[in-house]
Symmetry: none
């Protein structure tokens, strides 16, 4: 049924859609289990939100649940006439009214809530504890990765298990994709990383990962070139995480470390095609001191050496 080339991304898309279909069906089943309740799904959701987050206005609620304002208005009126809901006008805004459950409303909700909780308990009880934990962790992961209206916070942390491999993987993947470099480059990165992992003086050398949502999105290394010169290496930021200033912060972090480690200057080696990195280096006070054509990674390139002094703070 598929005539297109089947890339990993296509397979990821297929997996995503299969999950969506799966969960649609799953939600249908959950819903049926609660059929004896007098409230249809949407009303139950409204009740739930009202119980969880009091002092909402109707518009907030509609946005939160993705409901039509008109439809919601009717539901709320019904709740009100049934004595489940009270509205209080907001003094500072004549249009709005905060919604609050009455005691009766809270009781109705408690019944509903207990039923739903019992249903989920029944589901979870069928799983061994380790599986339950994995399930919950996986759900959290999906949620965190899909729900990113708020720009996810990120941090810089030292290298941990697997991170060296990630640096190799991301360099190999990205430089192949963006510049067409071949496996020779991935091999070079692997050698650099291997040498670093094999032996480095933590006082004078270091590697760091920029991480967002528990996922690596960038890297930078500082290694010793000679007693007075630090070398910056393996700076990378995933395309999807660019524009957040992560690259700049990584370089600043590296400079700070090198300064603290007592180096007098810092150098780095790059290629002229890497224009985004170039701007970061310039902004960080580096100056290009040498350019040299070479043939590597399956391409004709011009390598560049950049340098800057490190004066103690």
């Amino acid at each position: 049924m598929d005539d297109s080339v089947d890339t990993p991304l296509d397979r990821q898309i297929a997996a995503f859609r299969r999950f969506t279909r799966f969960y649609t069906r799953h939600l249908g089943v959950l819903r049926e289990g609660l059929l004896d309740s007098p409230y249809p799904l949407t009303e139950a959701r409204v009740l739930y939100e009202l119980a969880q987050a009091p002092d909402l206005g109707a518009a907030d609620l509609a946005r939160r649940l993705g409901l039509d304002a008109g439809y919601l208005s009717r539901i709320l009126r019904r709740f009100e006439t049934d004595g489940l809901l009270a509205r209080e006008p907001v003094p500072e805004d004549g249009r709005r009214a905060t919604l609050r459950l009455t005691e009766a409303g809270r009781q109705e909700f408690a019944v509903l809530d207990a039923a739903s909780r019992g249903q989920v308990r029944g589901l979870l009880a069928r799983l061994p504890d380790a599986a339950r934990r994995r399930l919950v962790a996986a759900m959290r992961t999906v949620e965190a990765l899909l729900d990113r209206d708020a720009p996810a916070p990120w941090l810089i942390r030292p290298l941990g298990p697997g991170d060296g491999g990630w640096v190799v993987e991301s360099h190999g993947r990205l430089y192949a994709q963006e510049y067409g470099w071949n496996a020779e480059f991935e091999a070079l990165v692997a050698e650099i990383v291997a040498a670093f992992l094999r032996a480095h003086d933590p006082a004078r050398e270091g590697g760091w990962i920029a991480e967002r949502d528990g996922v690596p999105v960038g890297s930078v290394f500082v290694v010793r070139q000679d007693a007075r010169t630090a070398k910056l290496r393996l700076l990378l930021v995933e395309p999807e995480a660019r524009g957040l200033g992560i690259g700049r912060r990584l370089v600043e972090h590296a400079i700070g470390f090198a300064r603290g480690a007592g180096y007098a200057r810092m150098t780095l080696w790059t290629n002229d095609v890497l224009v985004a990195a170039r701007r970061i280096y310039e902004a960080a006070g580096f100056v290009c001191t040498a350019r040299e054509p070479h043939t590597s990674f399956g391409k004709d390139l011009i390598s560049e050496t950049w340098e800057r002094a490190l004066t103690p703070e």
Copy 2:
């Protein structure tokens, strides 16, 4: 709001329900994105099932999608009058008729399918590759745990850009996690991978990735030890993908390649703590020929050499 004792199970239940609410909202958003399509959600789902699994009867379909038989009957009639659907009576059962999309139906579906796929692609494109992989893996985990009999298709493919790095990353991460090995091991793997990427004879050496849903879940390499001896290396299967026979198939694949490349025997090096791998090697006809204590990766270990003959097919 909660007066009950808060056990881990309660928190798991709460997380489960939060995810369910989250995904309900998420589905609402996905649905809105496809509003311009002429088919409402349910009809689209029916179309989808028909395209995926041909030769269903109406009752099968209703069960699969959790739809009312009467409602479905009407939808199907509409499809039929629109020329999207053909019914064929089943000879051995006069009540049933198998449903099959016509050429026009398949085309309608293709349009719908492309739109949905494009929407998901847009969502995934916002994520860095590592995050995409984690997302898909997490979805797969949820699915597998909630629906024990969900089959998981996977395949074995040659190494591509970034895969060498993934091999380093997964080895470093897993052996640290499962056996507490230190960065020396990740360094060793990086060196092996670097040497392989740097130069290998494709006729006599190879590396492969087991991939599921576009996510790497396993690896195996064959390298030359001497003219007559192949060496199997870097066999690994992610914990989430174990128990599916992937390890066995990777070893079989490696043996098949080595045999085709003209080697007379195959050898491999492992450690006695890796009990799962041991069983795979035994089943594949390997015999342990030497054991030797050593101290590596921050642990006292016993290394093992295994061998088997390779007779031409």
